[in-house]
Symmetry: C2
Subunit: 276 residues, 2 copies
């Protein structure tokens, strides 16, 4: 019902132009889900990495040239698509300044990521770097992530929610230079394997948690050592207003994000305490 | 005078343990300057990328293993050093959880970067990602950058300032989870080539500026197109309390940075305006 309503509304007004990107690469299942949902809201153009870019944070490519090719991946959906050798942030820059030329997207969406991007992961997340790059450009932007790392993760339960959040963003807008970090609980509980009901949506702050790394030391067939970065997520933040609390309690978390890193309390501290 | 004073002070107390990293790679001129200064304040261990990592933002390496090797680069200074195949954020994680083992650094410093990291560049900066990674680990951390991209940039004018800022951080500390983004004006004016006097230090906020990208489209010898990311820095922010204002007016800028990206005004906006 929601889909029908929305596509009708869209037909009555100027068609929205929507840029879709991600960090798992253009062939991931999650981006196809997102593209399918976005075609219900407007004209979609995809500019996404040609290979997985997880953990790329806000990296951009300045020491190497970029390659961009038209892609047939979304031909069945009638969607124009480009694959790019760069990072998610590169893709948004390329879309804005090279591919879209004089057109400006009404919405930038990134994902759906295969895996959580709550809390501190927003800094390491390629998915969110595409959304934040959109926000830097002054465009309403959203990064969507599902708390399920599986390549074949089930996204069906989040489809109506993706549509609703994107549609509200198009209709009601966002404060300038704000991007949304949206995380969905997985469809099935990791331990019990039982289906989890989504209880609702919480507008949250970023949980103050971090990764406690463990490096897995191995030896290659030539006797040389190498390490795999691994780690446990440690969350001492007991706040029930956090994204971590929300997704762990069956809610969708939406954290509005901005890119001014200034610690204003730090300015006061240094001005008062330091001799400089 | 300052150096003598400081090394004396250091001898009177527990020797500080200082981790040095960067994003221009372990052989860059800037990191050598920083290592030399830090040896005046304590025991230094270097963990830095084995190749340039500019623009890497807060990237971490999760799809590939990491290689770490002991390096002789700072043998002449009696400094233990490791070069790593990963990003600056990887280097700090490796140092903390693999190399330092049960020791905890008193200070994490990154740089000195060959080039400015003011304003929005903090997001794209590998130099700052090392410092912010330190702050995530709860360690006093500083990223130093010189507004001069030259490989042989002149760092001599900033040496006493690096020492003073590092020393104040060790003595007076920083609020928890805050990293400093320090930018120094270049020694010589880019246009007039005249030597510029450093007028002082300003504790600043991040300027609200951005890059207006231009992609330089070229064709390779095989007829395939590729693009170079380039751009102009656009700063509409007229505030005289910003890092951009400071470095452009002969001052050192210090921006205390934090890693909570939550846009709290966005929470209010969505709760009030959206139907969700």
């Amino acid at each position: 019902m929601q889909k029908a309503e929305k596509s009708q509304e869209t037909n009555n007004t100027k068609k929205s132009l929507i840029l879709v990107s991600n960090d798992d690469g253009i062939t991931a299942k999650g981006i196809r889900e997102l593209v399918e949902m976005m075609t219900l809201l407007g004209e979609v153009i995809v500019v996404a990495p040609d290979s997985p870019q997880s953990g790329m944070g806000h990296a951009i490519t300045i020491h190497m040239p970029l390659k961009v090719r038209k892609s047939d991946v979304f031909k069945d959906l009638g969607v124009e698509a480009y694959e790019c050798s760069g990072t998610p942030a590169d893709c948004v820059k390329l879309a804005k300044f090279h591919i879209f030329k004089n057109r400006t997207p009404d919405l930038v969406v990134s994902g759906v990521n295969h895996g959580s991007n709550t809390s501190i992961s927003v800094l390491y997340s390629g998915t969110m770097s595409a959304a934040i790059e959109g926000a830097i450009e002054g465009l309403p932007s959203i990064g969507f992530s599902l708390c399920d790392y599986g390549e074949n993760a089930d996204f069906s339960h989040v489809r109506p929610h993706i549509l609703k959040i994107a549609e509200q963003t198009l209709k009601k807008g966002l404060p300038k230079n704000v991007a949304l970090n949206v995380n969905f609980p997985a469809r099935f509980d990791k331990e019990t394997k039982e289906e989890q009901e989504i209880k609702g949506t919480k507008i949250c702050r970023q949980a103050h948690a971090r990764w406690q790394e463990k490096f897995d030391l191995r030896t290659d067939p030539y006797g040389r050592e190498y390490l795999w970065l691994a780690g446990d997520f440690v969350n001492p933040d007991k706040g029930e207003d956090t994204d971590e609390w929300a997704v762990n309690n069956g809610y969708i978390s939406i954290v509005p994000c901005q890119f001014d890193m200034t610690a204003h309390h730090g300015i006061t501290y240094i001005n008062n305490e330091w001799d400089i």
